[in-house]
């Protein structure tokens, strides 16, 4: 089953069910996320001061986004001074139009692309093809999914849902001969194939990991060297960047360069880190003659000033939250239905699309376990944002009628302990019909999903509150005096609290 089939279904539940029945997908995703996740944990441990750097990263991102207008202007002014054509695009359509106009003006036939999630967000490849320009992905993973006619299912490992046998099949079609499922041979084939494309291409198109405001430079992190080719061989370079990619200084970039590769793959350093400050100068051996940077909004500025979602713009697109997510590991990326998947996608997709009702259901695809927040190198509270999304959906009247009714009933019962107790008594009476050996197996109503994987517990004869009077008697009877040491510790805790301290480790 291909990923495209998965994306075509309508609700997250349906798409997830397709993925759950795809054993190849689940095995491939599990294998790679486990490798990346454990790599990240090892790298963080070896780093030694991970939590401090994480907090530093968060502060840099918070500061930058709080002053985004200033840093964007600074970046644009400096980039222009370096000879770069800087464009601002409010919408996806505007960004596409600017790109197509450049391609038309350059009479381009072929565009080589390095990995870029923002161009995926804009569906730029389709747009280029629509005016007869061939767009070739040159990141190995992106190349594979382009051949398969799919979209990336992971922010940094686009073809994570495929195993090497499936990849060998795809590449064999392209090669016109059967290639063995040997990674070195397969990569070698793609390398030769792409080399030709690099030499032919009229335009090199890139994304942007970070844009350094103080010098107007764009920075690319990559492992394959293809982005170097994309930015040195073709005569024209177009870089698309989300408007939040800014860091103020190169010193700040160092923090990001420490956090991102470790979080993404567990690497201490990315294999290639390129800082590009303008087009080719006379003394340069290579580089594009003309360079464009298109700064894309496309829903990002909607988060500015929103206290619950502004931190979304702090994301550095490392994918650590995907690798840590126990839901992602079972359903893969296509089940999320948008360009961005995993916990960040579940929040970012509705946010960029103005929280429209059709996207809100992906916020339900989370158990709110907080693994995403724990993994995030800039501490974005995604688990809380998911709750805010759900609340906004309810507030805007998009909640399910049945659920809304259920919640009203729940609140009515729980508003008074007497009602809760009455409900328990009713439950104890009613369960007699279904309890067998102290458990409930029947697959009916709300128990259908639960009991498809579990046996539900039955209610005991007495609830805690029913037995409280007896228990209290028993305790009062045998209670000894409080140990003076314990007592003084408790008094100290109360005193400390009065001074404003909190015992929690919570953020």
């Amino acid at each position: 089953m291909s990923g495209t089939d998965i994306s075509a279904s309508s609700t997250v539940k349906e798409r997830a069910d397709l993925a759950l029945n795809n054993e190849f997908l689940r095995q491939a995703v599990r294998f790679t996320t486990e490798r990346l996740r454990s790599g990240k944990m090892t790298a963080a441990e070896q780093h030694g001061n991970w939590e401090e750097w994480r907090e530093r990263g968060r502060q840099i991102r918070l500061h930058t986004i709080a002053h985004l207008d200033y840093y964007l202007n600074l970046f644009a002014d400096n980039a222009r001074a370096n000879g770069v054509h800087v464009h601002f695009a409010d919408t996806a359509q505007e960004a596409v139009n600017i790109s197509l106009q450049i391609a038309e003006r350059k009479k381009a036939h072929t565009v080589v692309k390095s990995k870029s999630m923002v161009t995926e967000e804009l569906h730029l490849n389709h747009a280029l093809e629509s005016i007869g320009v061939e767009a070739v992905e040159t990141d190995l993973g992106e190349y594979i999914i382009q051949l398969a006619g799919e979209t990336p299912s992971h922010i940094i490992i686009p073809a994570i849902h495929k195993n090497r046998y499936q990849i060998a099949e795809l590449l064999s079609v392209e090669a016109g001969e059967t290639l063995p499922a040997d990674t070195a041979i397969l990569a070698g084939f793609v390398r030769r194939k792409l080399r030709q494309k690099f030499l032919e291409a009229d335009i090199g198109m890139t994304g942007c990991n970070f844009a350094v405001a103080e010098t107007g430079s764009m920075v690319l992190f990559e492992n394959e060297g293809n982005a170097r080719m994309v930015t040195t061989v073709p005569k024209t370079q177009i870089t698309l960047m989300g408007m939040e990619r800014i860091v103020p200084t190169w010193a700040d970039l160092e923090v990001m360069a420490t956090l991102l590769p470790r979080s993404a793959t567990g690497q201490k350093l990315t294999v290639y880190m390129s800082g590009i400050t303008g087009p080719r100068r006379e003394e340069d051996a290579d580089g594009p003659e003309e360079m464009h940077i298109i700064i894309v909004d496309n829903g990002r500025s909607l988060q500015l000033g929103d206290p619950e979602f502004q931190e979304l713009l702090n994301c550095i697109r490392c994918g650590a939250c995907l690798n840590a997510c126990p839901v992602y590991r079972h359903i893969g990326g296509h089940a999320y239905g948008g360009t961005y998947s995993g916990p960040i996608g579940a929040v970012l997709t509705p946010a960029l699309n103005k929280n429209v009702a059709e996207w809100d259901d992906i916020a339900n695809a989370s158990s709110l376990c907080g693994a995403c927040y724990e993994a995030c190198p800039v501490k974005i509270p995604l688990h809380e944002m998911l709750i805010y999304l759900r609340r906004r959906k309810v507030e805007n009247g998009h909640g399910s009628k049945l659920e809304s009714l259920g919640m009203k009933g729940f609140a009515a019962v729980m508003a008074k302990s007497g009602r809760f107790n009455g409900m328990l008594k009713l439950g104890k009476w009613g369960q007699k019909l279904v309890v067998r050996d102290g458990g409930i197996k029947v697959k009916l109503g709300p128990l259908k999903g639960w009991n498809s994987y579990r046996i539900a517990p039955s209610l005991p004869k007495k609830s805690f509150r029913d037995g409280w009077r007896t228990l209290e008697e028993e305790i009062r009877h045998g209670l000894k005096d409080m140990d003076p040491a314990v007592k003084s510790r408790m008094e100290a805790a109360i005193k400390k609290r009065a001074e404003g301290a909190s015992h929690s480790h919570e953020r």
Binding site: A16, L20, P326, V327, H330, I331, N364, A365, S366, S367, L368, C369, G370, A371, I387, L389, R390, K393, V394, G399, M407, K408, F410, A411, M414, A415, S417, F420, L424, P446, K448, G449, W450, S452, Y453, R454, I455, P457, P460, K462, S463, F464, R465, G467, W468, L471, E472, I475, L479, K480, M482, D483, V486, R489, M490, E491, A493, H503, S504, E506
Partner: protein, 242 residues
Amino acid sequence: MRVSLFITCMSDAIYPRVGEAMVRLLARYGVQLDFPKVQTCCGQPAFNSGYWEEARTTAKTILEAFDGSDFVISPSGSCVGMIHHYPKLFEHDPVLHSKAIELQKKTYEFSQFLVHVLGVTDVGAAFPHRVTYHPSCHGSRLLGIKDEPMELMRNVKGMEFVPLPFAEDCCGFGGTFAVKMADISGAMVSEKSDHVKETEAEVLVGLDMACLMNIAGNLRYRNEPVRVMHLAELLYEGVKQA
């Protein structure tokens, strides 16, 4: 000094034995828990599903119940975690907001209270069994409860502790998630049970009955003979045996 038990609706209704073990164990230190009966549910099912108005209705029973308490102790990191959301939940009501902050400061999860307030890490228990431990997400990630249960278990005599592989992975409960996304939740809990089985433990212990109900339900569905207990139960049983 008034030390109150926040039993949580789940332990109240389904697992009274957990509350009983807590009450009896703490009584050994001269700490007499009281049980304000107006408490019902912390409101988390409604809060997490986006129904904050409904969450406020039930959360008010908790604010009222523990208004005069000096300490509030609960057998669930997740429900204590919910109390940490109260200041946000009541941010537009100045009176309840300040009560919420007070409540957050004085509320402790069971193992936190034992270790940090009472200073107890060895309850003098013996439990000659092979045991593994599932750290629940909200307790460990959001409240930072990691070392406390480990310290308490390390001092239990005769107990063989086996680390659970991928212990920190969510069991798939997630409240209404287990109902709404039943198949994803089912895949997650099945994987958790696989890991429990790998340990060959006789007993699975934890600090949150919601997660333990989920895992126990799946283990039972698969006919795996693993006993599932809250740490308070294990410690109290161990104390009686010692």
